[in-house]
Symmetry: C2
């Protein structure tokens, strides 16, 4: 890999800004555009502001996108002044947003038509992981393109897996969000049951940590439920978006996900009760409402 | 603790036989009774056969019970020739079966009336853990009784936690079985979705192992789903019994467990399709039937 590449980054939100910052800090030329105000820190570090996604695609060889949802990726790639309109053959588009696996396959095919490679590379780890360059990155797309971009992924994350062809990165992210949501529901139901039965939920969690019930969610989110620390973390509103991707994808694929559908309804109950911006561990509160019994009292 | 104690063990099935064997191997006097034929190995090792649970309670100072379900414990403790009819003050009854936390509190109170201590000490780890003396043991009851019996628990298990008062051990076991069932459902839905979307489920599992989706179930049961190894392990029929304890307990306590109810229905679908004696990781097959798509083909 040459010492300095011409990189583009589109979408400078809570996640994109620190991720782009890591690329620039490694000495690469960085061309950026975003819908909102450009972060001054990034410009001070030498990033070059562009007027459109098209201009970014004209000036950079590898273009990263990091935007909220499927329609945003479609607009950034294929809108009037979008990436596709500025591409020339041999460039690489890397979408790091978390979006539909099915639409991703379609987006990749359209980018391939311009003679360019496409990688879907959604992340997990949140704002903390983006700042610390410790994101988990799940990648779909051609092996050669993955190998070319891998040193750049390594500037932003730690646990980087090439899962398979285009769409497989997004599929893996959806699978991740299904498991995380259902494991949160699992710990929630277990702790509400145990607390209502009169046991100390902290001791129950401790007793379960070594056995088959052990999980990262029991460890981290179980503790949040007991200590009543529901500041995000990862917001319920965002997890609702991801479960919608799972359920819409499942409907399109002809797959029934009854437990995921149930967990989505519990998150909807949280949102309906004003908890959309709490951490997703607050799913426990939907079950606490139904039982009329909190796992532990909230702090005063 | 004195070098040799007078112990009783009632219920010498798949779990009870190796557990009683460990107690006898440590040099304690062991008085046993069981509904079925007494294991010859245990008699050869010096265990003393008794004609009834009453006789075991008359001869031993600490009496362990390990039987299938709540009515079995009730019969063994309070039946015509049961433990209670043979107790004298100062003895200790230790129920290691997995049964109702609510009935357990009642059983403990009745044993206490005879001037004896009661511990509920259900285990997890299955036949493998029983044989290897590596069971997880979750204990409810008085602190002093727990400390007295702890060295004996250490002959049968490794991860031994005193959770709280009587019933809290059984409550913890129910919480464990809720989480295990829901984590199996989580991994099942994620892998069926990923496979139907065209991704390699083995690579998806690998990519998820380091992040927030990681769990003992993703590691162990996820691999079983991919390698199609559904020999138990822990049978669906037994997990159905445990989820019945959770749902009946929840109804009695006034707690709603919608996800646990859903998982119980998936296990029921497995049982209806002749899978009651498969490992509980075969829950994935209920979702595979609904999607008309296996995560991976079964071996020929």
């Amino acid at each position: 890999m040459s010492t300095s590449l011409k990189l583009g980054f589109i979408g400078l939100g809570i996640m994109g800004t620190p991720m782009a910052g890591h690329l620039r800090a490694a000495g690469h030329a960085l061309f950026v555009s975003t819908r909102s105000k450009l972060p001054q820190d990034l410009l001070d570090a030498g990033a070059v502001a562009c007027g459109s996604a098209r201009e970014v695609a004209q000036k950079a060889d590898i273009i990263f996108t990091m935007v909220p949802d499927t329609p945003d990726v479609e607009a950034v790639l294929f809108g009037e002044t979008g990436v596709a309109s500025g591409l020339s053959a041999g460039k690489t588009v890397v979408d790091m947003s978390s979006i539909s696996p099915i639409d991703t396959k379609c987006f990749a095919a359209r980018i391939n038509e311009a003679g360019c490679d496409y990688l879907d590379a959604p992340v997990s780890g949140g704002e903390v992981g983006a700042k610390a360059a410790s994101l988990t990155i799940m990648v779909g797309g051609p092996e050669a393109a993955f190998e070319r971009v891998k040193p750049l992924f390594a500037l932003m994350g730690k646990n980087i897996t090439h899962v398979g062809g285009n769409g497989d990165g997004q599929t893996t992210k959806v699978a991740n969000q299904i498991i995380v949501a259902l494991n949160i529901a699992a710990v929630s139901e277990a702790l509400v049951f145990a607390s209502k039965a009169g046991a100390d939920p902290a001791k129950v969690r401790q007793a379960l940590m070594g056995g088959f019930a052990s999980s990262r969610i029991l460890e981290v989110h179980g503790e949040r439920m007991i200590k009543r620390t529901f500041a995000p973390g990862f917001r319920i509103g965002l997890h609702q978006k991801d479960l919608n991707l799972a359920l819409a994808g499942a409907r399109a694929l002809g797959v029934a996900l009854p437990q995921t559908a149930g967990a989505a309804q519990l998150m909807q109950a949280c949102a309906a009760n004003g908890m959309k911006d709490l951490d997703h561990s607050a799913l426990v509160k939907a079950l606490e409402m139904m039982a009329h019994h909190p796992v532990m009292p909230d702090a005063a």
